[in-house]
Amino acid sequence: MTVSTASSPIPAAARVPAPAGRPRRTGANGLLAVPALVFFVVFALVPLAGAVVLSFADWDGLGELGWAGWSNWAGVLTDPVTGQALLLTVKIMVVSWLVQTPISLLLGVFTAGTQRYRAVLAVLYFVPLLLSSAAVAIAFKAILDPNFGIGGAPGLGFLAQDWLGDPDLVLYVVIFVIAWQFVPFHTLLYQAGVRQIPTSLYEAATIDGASTVAQFRHITLPQLRYTIVTSSTLMLTGSLTYFDVVFVLTGGGPGTSTRLLPLDMYLTGFSANDMGGASVLAVILVVAGLGLAFVLTRFSGFARMSSEQEGL
């Protein structure tokens, strides 16, 4: 088993006293990682291996399992719905990032300030964070009803649109609802980030005559670099697993207009009862997620993060 070797990552040979001149390895004992490692293996790696195996099986959730060879893979990869689901997932990922980042950055900077009523407004901004995804989706479904929703209110007739039924519009409605739900969380990250910036930087800039906008561009933004990286990483990887809100709000419809990859996986597995096909999609999702995580950590400087306050 990998567990036993991983539990003592220092080979026996390395445990002899290090020759003089080379620094001795310091840090926590490898044994401390065992519990986390066991959980990771049992709850992440084993099911993952199961999904890979199941992607070659023909199983409807009942009865006996038969082997299907590559037919599930061929079926899923040639299905136009899969390509569309991937495209939709990428689209929702990019647009969500573009929408959420500026809003949460500005809100975060605002809520970190000392303006009047700031605390009251901040509380209001954070309300969506307290609601469960299902509740958010059900509430928006009722609000967006074309006949009995918000469009029925006096003076708001222009809001009575075919929000969830128009194939061209529905994706943006979904992106809006997701943004409504997640912006508060990222605002919180940015607020914390802004509060870390030493006031002496702003004081110096003010003395030098820098405007508020210039201070934002030349102090706030550079100082928030790693907060932006963290928030973006969470947003981009999180968008691979958008499921609950979309499932309740649209069920993937109309047609396949909001059938994102995770939703496609769920519906294939639990509505169409094709566990083999669903496992193929699950594996694709894992590969996409790992690829994305790799790219993000490799090129965003995530792994090279260090203090921005040297010299202060």
Binding site: G50, L144, F148, G165, F243, P254, G255, M265, M275, A282
Partner: protein
Amino acid sequence: MKASGSARRALAAVGLTAVLVGAAACGTAGPQTGGEGSASAWIISGVTEKAFDNSFDSWNAAHPDQKFATQSFANDPYKQKIRTAVGAADAPTLIYNWGGGVLRSYVEAGSVDDLSDLAADPALKDRFLPSVAAVGQVDGKTYAVPNNGVKPVMIYYNKDLFAKIGAQPPSTWGELMALVPKFKAAGISPFAVAGQPKWPLLPWFAYLVDRVGGPEVLNGIVANKPDGWSDPAVLQANRMIQDLVNQDGFIKGFASISTDSGADVALLYTGRAAMTLGLPATYQTIKTGDAKFVEDGKLGYFPFPAVEGGKGDPADVVGNPSNYWSISAAATPQEKQVARDYITNNLLNDRYVMDLLTVGNVPPVAGIDDTIATSSDPDYFRTVYDVTAKAPSFQLSLDQALSPAQGDALLTNLQQIFLGQMTPEQFSAAMNATIGS
């Protein structure tokens, strides 16, 4: 390579966990059992829950050593949960189902018991309407017995709105289409339909295919007849649907309307749409939303119209004949015996029949004319009962009759027909490709 049964089961369970983890779906423990000699049943929450509860409560009171433990679930989550439970041999003793393709998959997996001997029991034999009891059979053997009201789909209409434009209920498709411009001219939407959850679109398709081509077309499709979906009746039915959509026969924005909030039916009793095609749940929703609308006689109903030159009998019905109980093959012998005794003695007995009628469901029980006559709305209940009892063909809802994979594909493709995202020819080709899945 062939893995052993238990290894494969374990593997399957592990894979299932992976999909579940990925989807962040949650599962709970299996059925609760109430101790030795007790059985379990899962029921569906909603209007008929009371009738089921009463039935099990009175059984439990009379049989303290043979109790049922019940748990209720919402409709859609139940359908997914029960399949996982049956697959894991962890299902309740009594399995609530809809007959059709799902029941067939249970039978083929050996998950439910053969109840042919029970069905032949003199105590049960003549209790149910034959057309409804037949849906519980697979290959001539009975695996499920009816436990709920009959659910034929009819057109419900607002009598006030019909009077406003001086219209009569249409008996042919031509008459129906002629009403569309008249209602529109009066600023009324002809039909309300909940297009968002997809399944309310199904009866439109099933009825039109039946009226145009007769029941053989849908029977062929259900039996996986090669190219069954390219039957001229299917193509024509989809053209008729798109024609109705293009003439604004359905209310604007219908694809955004959901049904779990009753927003489709509300359009009918608030006077914004003249008609809706629906299950008897339509009646119950109106009763709950605006009881006065029904009491004042403003609610009308009529069967789906005939299509000129079509082969189908206008008396044919589409819908859910009933719901059914099957007995889990994985239950213990004691649990099975409790379930069998319950079915023989208490299923759809007089009290149960009365309870169902009280909540607006007509039980599929033979010879209940007298009970219907004393119910709260004899005219409506008699119509529902007669429509069912006299139907030459009662087509089970297609999402239940077909295999789950086909049913799922049908829902998505049909929604695209309604939205004009797909032509009838593309629909037929896409559905033919699902045959055998």
